[in-house]
Amino acid sequence: MRLFTFAAPSRFYGLSGALLPWLWASALLLASAGLYVGFVLAPTDATQGEAYRIIYIHVPAAWMSMVLYLAMAGWAAVGWAWNVRLASMLARAIAPTGALFAFIALWTGALWGKPTWGTWWVWDARLTSQLILLFLYLGFMALVEAIDDPKRSDQAGALLAVIGAINVPIIYFSVRWWNTLHQGASVSMTAAPKMASIMLTAMMVMTFAFWAYAFAVVFTRTRAIILEREQDADWVRTLVREEAVDA
């Protein structure tokens, strides 16, 4: 059996279509639960007051922006190396969502920084590398849009995405490697979390909500890209005929 049999765009189209309602429902339910825990159950922070409640979206958005970048670069590389069409399509579909999460991380960070640090922005290592992440996403999107030939476009995008991936560990470790105004990690893979468990619960539930959202929106966009690229395929013709009968 070939390794990428399940990566046929037609199969993915059907499977993701069946998953979408569940993903949207999970995102909504988890976000409602997370906001309830974060705003109703969790108390006011002793040192940061109410401003700390921004972290329930700031941290998950920042995490998602990094994870999605790695996913984008990974799929782009798979598409390039093994010529898997679906992988390149996924990479393209991830980029706008990753860019928006990077923007949300920067926006909410600025709105947290103003009352807490007294400034919207500083050019410290964490903030600057996160801004570069946003530019990498935008650069990837502009590059793949600028090249008409899909194959060359995918390859150029993959090259940019893979080189840019070096920025992700830089963001993650920036608060350790440099003396940043941005605080160190409150939650890490190697140590016990440095925050109250109720606040941590809210933040983790919001993270799962963002995951579900990201899967849902990326799958929706992937389905659009599949149709755009495979217009001439037999299975798409059958699909649109069925849709026409349904409507």
Binding site: W24, T44, G49, E50, A51, R53, I54, I57, H58, A61, P96, T97, L100, F103, I104, W107, T108, L111, W112, K114, P115, Y213, A216, V217, T220, R221, R223, A224, I225, L227, E228, Q231, D232, V236, R237, L239, V240, R241, E243, A244
Partner: protein, 55 residues
Amino acid sequence: MRELIELGGYGTYVWGSYLVTALIMAVEPLMARHRQKLALQQAAMVADEESEQGN
């Protein structure tokens, strides 16, 4: 209610964060869905043209 809006003086910052995030997360799925609808219509047009040529 007033307390919830003001959030101890941090209301502008907290709600400014949540409002923009909610807006983005409402508009992005609509745009993705719209793109998918357009792609379906486009594919239907291509299929129609081909079946006309075939006749």
